[in-house]
């Protein structure tokens, strides 16, 4: 057996690309095998809308990442036209909210400060590889200790507050603070976005903190659009890959890891081709990494149990509407239309939308996050994240897809009465489609829920944190690992570090 490559990365999602390039920069000979015929994975116009900025720590390990971002404000649409638009600047936002309730405005600043300090305390922990709880090594305990210290350093009062809030649901916290239901709805929307939680589900608050930690520690301040769209981002990553001599094989789906003496030594493609390397890294989700690549016959029973119970049912569908003209959104000016438009008018509305999803059913009044593209050109488009579009919906996606799309459009009609007449084509990607076409089990935003039992050193499962799997030589670098999904590249970078540490 000859090691043709130092490293094979399975999957060319953005995390796989980041990981591959960091390793190539350290003179590793790297091959990426991607199942699809193009690269980027979920980083695609048909999937992602608004993104966080890639953190400095990631772009600097790549020797710079020339991607441009445009900051976006967020607008909570109201049927009455009394929208609330927040830009993520305390002074401006305070003023905007004062227009609805001066009490809320003051409370908002306080609430934001508190959340922001917690998110910062999590911050350094978010960037680093989490400790491995089953290792019992000093450095792992030290990391845990440091997280504890970060939070403790906030002072006793805040520490107690943090401890109180960690398992809390976001609805209680918002209702305690604010009276404006539209504002409550907007914040609650971001707390549940991408997850299988309603605003009244315990743990929805930590979901928001996690989101903030990768979004500039701000609720509405760290939200961006990629200049040139997802394609520009992917192209940049491919340029870098080219420079770093990362080889990429597309349309090359990996069937399984080849093992020798219980160590990963290569991959076998679905077409039978075998390629060998010293280390293998999977950008695939945890379940398919464990059950397909590693193979159930190579797993301990306890590990199988953990993977089987790993929660990864996707809840977000993406609807793309191409338009022949820009629709008239009631009472929206140009800045409003340029914003991230959210339809989630109250906590109760979101909770109602969530209710059927507990039973893997669909609400015909879902919550929406919308992006109007090319508004000044002849070919505008509306990209919509539709939440609580359950994976494996009981109604059967094949039967209900058209009705569901119509329901979403009807919903938008309340805010943009002429939308129907603007639509040229409509295309929806459901979690089931994502599983099939993007090879993400369950089609989940984060390759697995962001909840307290699947976070930090428990992510994706106990014993497999720190980007190492149970199989020697096989690593993970995708959204299923710490700190989760979104366009951050952090899992990719941390995985590369783990591999360099082991070398």
């Amino acid at each position: 057996m000859s090691d043709n490559y130092d490293v094979i990365v399975i999957g060319a999602g953005h995390n796989g690309l980041v990981c591959a390039n960091i390793l190539a920069k350290k003179n590793r000979k790297v091959l990426i095998c991607e199942a699809r015929d193009n690269c980027g994975g979920l980083l695609e116009e048909s999937i992602t809308n608004f993104v966080p900025q890639i953190p400095m720590s990631v772009s600097s390990s790549l020797g710079g990442l020339p991607v441009k971002y445009k900051a976006k404000s967020s607008i909570a649409l109201s049927e009455s036209g009394q929208h609330i638009r927040l830009v993520g600047n305390q002074h401006i936002d305070h003023k905007v909210i004062s227009g609805f309730s001066s009490k809320d405005a003051d409370r908002y600043v306080e609430f934001h400060d508190k959340m922001s300090s917690f998110s910062k305390a999590l911050g350094s922990f978010m960037m680093a590889s989490p400790p491995r709880i089953m290792n019992n090594t000093f450095s792992d305990y030290f990391k845990l200790f440091k997280l504890g210290m970060n939070v403790r350093m906030l002072g006793k009062k805040k520490f107690n507050e943090f401890a109180r809030m960690i398992g809390l649901n976001i609805a209680d916290e918002l209702e305690d603070n604010f009276e404006n239901t539209l504002l409550q709805g907007l914040i609650a929307h971001d707390a549940v976005l991408g997850s299988n939680l309603g605003p009244r589900s315990p743990g929805s608050l930590i979901n928001l903190l996690f989101r903030m930690a990768t979004h500039d520690n701000s609720i509405f301040g760290g939200i961006y659009e990629i200049d040139g769209g997802s394609k520009a981002f992917v192209d940049t990553l491919l340029d870098i890959s080219n420079k770093n001599k990362v080889e990429i094989k597309t349309s090359s789906s990996v069937k399984r890891c080849i093992t020798e003496n219980d160590k990963a030594v290569g991959v076998e493609l679905h077409n039978g081709e075998k390629i060998y390397a010293k280390k293998i890294i999977s950008n695939a989700d945890p379940r398919s990494t464990y059950f397909s690549l590693l193979g159930t016959e190579n797993l301990d029973t306890d590990v199988k149990r953990r993977i089987k119970h790993h929660r990864s049912k996707g809840k977000v569908a993406k609807l793309s509407l191409s338009l022949n003209k820009q629709p008239e959104f009631i009472n929206c000016d140009k800045d409003d239309l340029e914003s991230r438009m959210v339809i989630a008018p109250s906590i109760d509305y979101i909770e109602e939308a969530f209710n059927p999803s507990k039973f893997d059913k669909l609400s015909m009044e879902p919550i929406l996050e919308m992006k109007l593209k090319n508004s000044d050109q002849s070919n505008p488009a509306l990209d919509i994240q539709v939440q609580y579009a359950s994976y494996g919906a009981q109604e059967g996606w094949d039967n209900i897809k058209d009705n569901y799309v119509d329901a979403v459009i009807k919903l938008i009609e309340k805010y943009a009465p002429d939308i129907q007449s603007c639509i040229e084509t409509k295309a929806i990607v459901t979690p089931d489609d994502i599983e099939k076409n993007f090879h993400v089990t369950g089609g989940h935003w984060h390759h697995g829920e962001i909840q307290i039992d699947q976070l930090f050193m428990l992510r994706p499962i106990p014993g497999a944190s720190q980007y190492r799997t149970h199989l020697d030589g096989l690593y993970m670098c995708g959204a299923g690992t710490h700190p989760g999904g979104g366009l951050t590249g952090i899992p990719g970078r941390n995985a590369a570090q783990a591999i360099l540490e082991d070398a």
Partner: protein, 399 residues
């Protein structure tokens, strides 16, 4: 289902009408949810029958699982530490299995009918474990505890007894072999296995056949010193044979609350059952490989030969400096060998490198007062009793 546990009676085995008739002492205990005798008459008498005649024990409460399916062979090989890939049809193998940390969950026996059909027998219930382990294998696991009646027929005259019962050519059955019979119109599976370290068999049949089988065997052994025996007598014979018992000699990994109480196979003298060079993966292999490589096993389970004649039940074991180095897990005065023996869990290197100059502190009750004895011990092979007749083929026959 009766949800009020206060009024849920223990189950009766299909032999209950017979075992209760044979009981002179009315002493029962709860074995796996079944009520079975600890002692029928006197433990000494029952023990003597086991070593000199034929003893009969109701084994029904033992957990039994049927494993069927096209991957059955691969699956059992994955489940246990021993290499079963070359196991022959109609044989039985002694096995242990571990969790992911390489800690022993239980020991038991596996019966192979064919590549697609096995039966697993053990002490601790493991249906969930089997079910979850089977993920990814084409097998089905079924709990057959209630649907299979089982009897142990053990002792020097056991083969003759069973031949009288109708098991033709049984003397030719090799140790750990098994054979399907049809006796008195019922299917009976007979395996040459047992827990007494002597010549002996175990019989597996439909519960509908239980009473007939019991009566016919008692009749067949009438002239061959046959006698039912209970748990206490079995305990004596199994200590002599050096067999370990889960949750007595070591804590089952899933039952111990304290991680430090869990034991690897190397720590309970079962290293010989771990085949790290088995080609395929098995549960716990990674952890066991690491333990073997680093040699960081902490304990061992050994046999002790103890001075004097007072059984060292529950004794703490000390070194010369009176430092605590372990504990006795099972002990007895062996009437057959006239030796004071025990099984003990010791901290290494005691038991492995250091085998002499260790001591048991024995508290011997004498009419409401304890006499404290400081007895010298020697580490010896755990198998105290292993007569030649145990493995002889053809097996000894008596008129």
């Amino acid at each position: 289902m009766n949800r009020d546990l206060r009024f849920t009676a223990l189950k009766k085995t299909p032999f209950h009408s017979r075992t209760s008739l044979a009981s002179r002492t009315n002493k029962y205990y709860n074995w796996n949810g079944f009520t079975v005798p600890t002692e029928y008459s006197t433990t000494e008498l029952e023990y003597t029958a086991a070593r000199n005649g034929t003893s009969v024990m109701d084994l029904t409460p033992m957990c039994k699982y049927m494993i069927n399916g096209s991957d059955a062979n691969r699956f059992v090989d994955y489940l246990v530490t021993r290499d079963l890939s070359q196991m022959e049809d109609n044989t039985v193998a002694y096995i242990i299995w571990c969790n992911e940390d390489g800690k022993v969950m239980d020991d038991g026996t596996i019966f192979k009918f064919s590549d697609t059909k096995f039966m697993l027998c053990c002490a601790v219930k493991i249906y969930n474990w089997l079910h979850d382990s089977a993920e990814g294998f084409d097998v089905s696991c079924e709990d057959a505890t209630d649907t299979t009646a089982a009897l142990a027929i053990q002792g020097p005259t056991s083969c003759s007894t069973l031949k009288n019962y109708g098991a033709d050519d049984l003397e030719l059955l090799k140790p750990f072999g098994m054979k399907q019979y049809n006796i008195n119109g019922y299917d009976v599976l007979i395996s040459r296995t047992g827990f007494t370290g002597d010549l002996g068999y175990e019989l597996w049949t439909n519960p509908a056949n239980a009473e007939n089988m019991w009566d016919s065997i008692m009749e067949a052994g009438k002239e061959l010193k046959i006698r039912p025996f209970g748990m206490h007598a079995l305990e004596m014979t199994r200590i002599e044979a050096g067999f370990i018992q889960t949750n007595t000699d070591f804590m089952a990994a899933e039952d111990s609350l304290r991680p430090v109480r869990m034991r690897s196979p190397y720590e309970i003298g079962m290293g010989w059952l771990v085949h790290l060079n088995k080609e395929s993966y098995f549960v716990g292999k990674r952890a066991l490989k690491k333990e073997k490589e680093t040699g960081n096993s902490e304990r061992c389970l050994v046999g002790l030969d103890i001075d004097g004649d007072k059984p060292a039940v529950g004794s703490v074991i000390y070194n010369e400096k009176k430092e605590d180095i372990g504990i006795v897990t099972a002990a007895m005065w062996s009437p057959t060998m006239k030796r004071n023996v025990a099984l003990a869990s010791l901290k290494r290197p005691y038991g492995i490198k250091i085998k002499e100059n260790i001591f048991a502190e024995i508290y011997h009750p004498e009419e409401l007062e304890y006499k404290k004895i400081w007895a010298k011990c020697k580490v010896v092979k755990r198998q105290f009793f292993s007569p030649e007749r145990r493995n002889k083929v053809p097996a000894d026959l008596y008129e």
